[in-house]
Amino acid sequence: MAVLQMQRISICALKKNRKAILERLQELGAVEIDIRLEDDSGYEQLDTAGYRAAFEKQANAADQALEVLNRYAPVKSSLLSSLEGKKQRDKEDIREIERHKDEKTAMVQQLLDLDKQIAGLQADILKLETQKEALVPWQSLEVPMNYSGTRNTRLLIGTMPATATRESVEQFIASKNPELDAYELDILSRDKDYVYLTVLCLKKDAAALEEVLRMGGFARPAGLSKEIPAKLQETLNAQVQENREQIAVLEEMVASFADKREELELVSDYFRTRAEKYLVLGKLPQTKYTFALSGYVAAYRAQAIKEELEQKFQADVELEEITEKEEAPVILKNNGFSDSVEGVLASFGLPHKGEIDPSIVTSIFYVFLFGLMLSDAAYGLIMVVACGIVLKKFPRMSESLRKSIKLFFYCGFSTLFWGIMFGGYFGDAVDVISRVFFHHEVSIPPLWFAPLADPMKLLLYSWLFGVIHLYTGLGMKGYICIKEKNYMNFFCDVVLWFCLLTGLILILLPTELFGAIAGSMIVFPAPLHFLGKALALIGVVGILLMSGRSSKNPGIRLALGAYDLYNITGWMSDVLSYSRLLALGLATGVMASVFNQMGSMGGDSVVGVILFIVVFIIGHTFNMAINLLGAYVHTCRLQYVEFFGKFYEGGGKAFAPFKQNTKYFDFKEETQL
């Protein structure tokens, strides 16, 4: 249970060491740069925005080149490859890139150029295809499209609306200008919009005829060429073919870079790291010969960093405690079990200044409640095995992913445990299989009880677990109060509430209402009765008087106290909310038995067995997935709303160190500090 102690580190050093110091800090990744100047006169800052943009552009170019490479020389990647995490490389490799960076950027450029050429050729092909398409209706034309005629004749080439036929056109011409009769009309082809035709006529009639035809909707095609359509088509085909061949050659060339993939990734990482460095560089206050830097560092690493910087770079390093006003970034540090819940915690909010890290308590309850909701031994076992294999096989996956998988690993154990307690193994699969296929029903009895047979019992236990969870939450609040030495708050907001709630529970337990739910009356001895009433009374009076202690006015004070008492309904709804433990637990079991039942409908035959296996696999995969999701969401909810609501606000800022913000590789450090 710990938020790491942070310190402020301030470094002042000579400019000649600037590059080395920044690079070393970046490698260490242990300092979050946070520069606050009370007075910035006398300092100047480098304007690095331009450099940074250039580096980022180069990093992006390398990424693009990789994309191009992946398009033409794809790497096989399995579904699980996202779990692999970043590969590890030696630091020397990135220095190698730095030495040859011009060469490497040229290579990136070359790949991008190739891609551009391919894209250009593909665009050309598209253009050619459209041209070809436009030629199709003119296929049977035996003269070039721009052919106008012989010495005495004219050839009109064009389109008319699709409704036109030879007869209708001839009639139309006759009706408009009966003198025109020396012409030869040829319909070449027709599609749904147009009729494609040629009209051969005497030169002297040409103008008049065209005029008449125009009235009928005649239009000359655009883009006339000097070639005969059929021949032009062939040329176009040849061009397309040629382009295709060229593309194939270029693609081959791109693919030949396949062995350079890692180099490209290194280039991308190299430039990204540099861009990050320049971002920091631009923030540093500098004088003619010196520069300064300030930031947060985890206290346990601070001394080592200080010593290294002082010895290696003759820098002046100061360490200070964080002042009251500052809000230091948060790093959580927990044991191997509890750190698995840090992701869940972070998505609610990291501890705010002065708050404690609730990871340990949260992790215990998380695993406990999750198992209770899923409660199937077989599902639990699958979770344990699957997560265990993943954890073992992919040791280099990212930290946050590893933590989540670890969380499910532990939740699997809890699910296994509760499954055995409640007798759920793929629901009632054992019973169904033995009954249907072996004609002799065997069932594994639950170690505790079967929830479906006695839901009331589990409901009561759900509430009990809820009360324990909530009491722990209130206890955490008490712990915080005591830690801050705020004993008044501890007494009024925690102890009095404990009195009131415990008193109320003691009063409620022996009532008939509760007896009806539990199925048997609980009889308390008289002193316990009295104790319950006394505690409740102390609680009520105490809260009524003390809750509004911040107000001087006695009337307002009482009113505030009464209002706070009203919170008792909130506690009730919080406890009722734990009913979901029962509901979700039953949902898993019942859904599982629905699938088992469906599967067994084929009876005891070969077909029946096959049907059962298919339904079993599909059904239980689905059931497990949906109930895993349900258990995850609702365990989070119980933590966030009911539990954290009692003592935790969150809202802290995560530690974001200046580091090598790489995408593909991790670079080994020579010395771990």
């Binding site: 869940v344 972070a346 998505s347 609610f348 479906l452 839901p455 009331m456 409901l459 009722l576 909310s577 009913s579 979901r580 029962l582 509901a583 979700l584 039953l586 949902a587 019942v590 859904m591 038995s593 629905v594 039942q597 949906i626 999701l629 349900g630 969401v633 609702h634 989070c636 909810r637 966030y640 709303v641």
Partner: protein
């Protein structure tokens, strides 16, 4: 009508109403999720979880219907001879999850749509975004609880 008809009607109502609610909820959430994935495919897993949240009502309906069916013996093959009064009781017991499932499923779907909006803009706020639809579900769970307790408590 004999009791078994009422009981079966109850089971049907639980599955139909709650299923409709979930279908609507998962449907609208799915549309929003698809929109996010077209822009940023890497958010697929997160929005998928959001989409599935309103799906539970349908499962709760199924759960109650299944309990009812096994209670009245339809699942075992021989339907029990139930008189009208217990049949009506079972029908009434099925109503909470049916009706609350319908309404809460639809509203949870809309809340999921809004939560998907959060994930689209601020993926790191996933935990909080997930909480809003989960809040709606509480009422489906309460209804489920009453339905389960009532169905398992009725003597046939």
């Amino acid at each position: 009508m004999s009791g078994i008809v009422w009981a079966l009607l109850g089971a049907a109502a639980a599955v139909i109403l709650a299923g409709c609610g979930s279908a609507y909820g998962v449907g609208v959430a799915g549309q929003a999720a698809s929109g996010v994935v077209t822009e940023d495919p890497s958010k697929f897993a997160k929005v998928l979880i959001m989409q599935l949240l309103p799906g539970t009502q349908g499962i709760y309906g199924l759960l109650v219907a299944f309990l009812t069916l096994s209670k009245i013996g339809i699942l075992g093959g021989g339907a029990a001879d139930i008189s009208v009064a217990p049949g009506l009781l079972i029908f009434a017991a099925c109503l909470p999850i049916g009706i609350v499932g319908l309404v809460s499923g639809m509203h949870q779907g809309r809340t999921s749509v809004a939560a998907i909006g959060i994930v689209a803009k601020k993926p790191d706020q996933f935990g909080k975004a997930m909480l809003f639809p989960a809040m709606v579900e509480t009422y489906a769970i309460l209804a489920l609880l009453i339905s389960i307790l009532a169905v398992s408590g009725i003597q046939v």
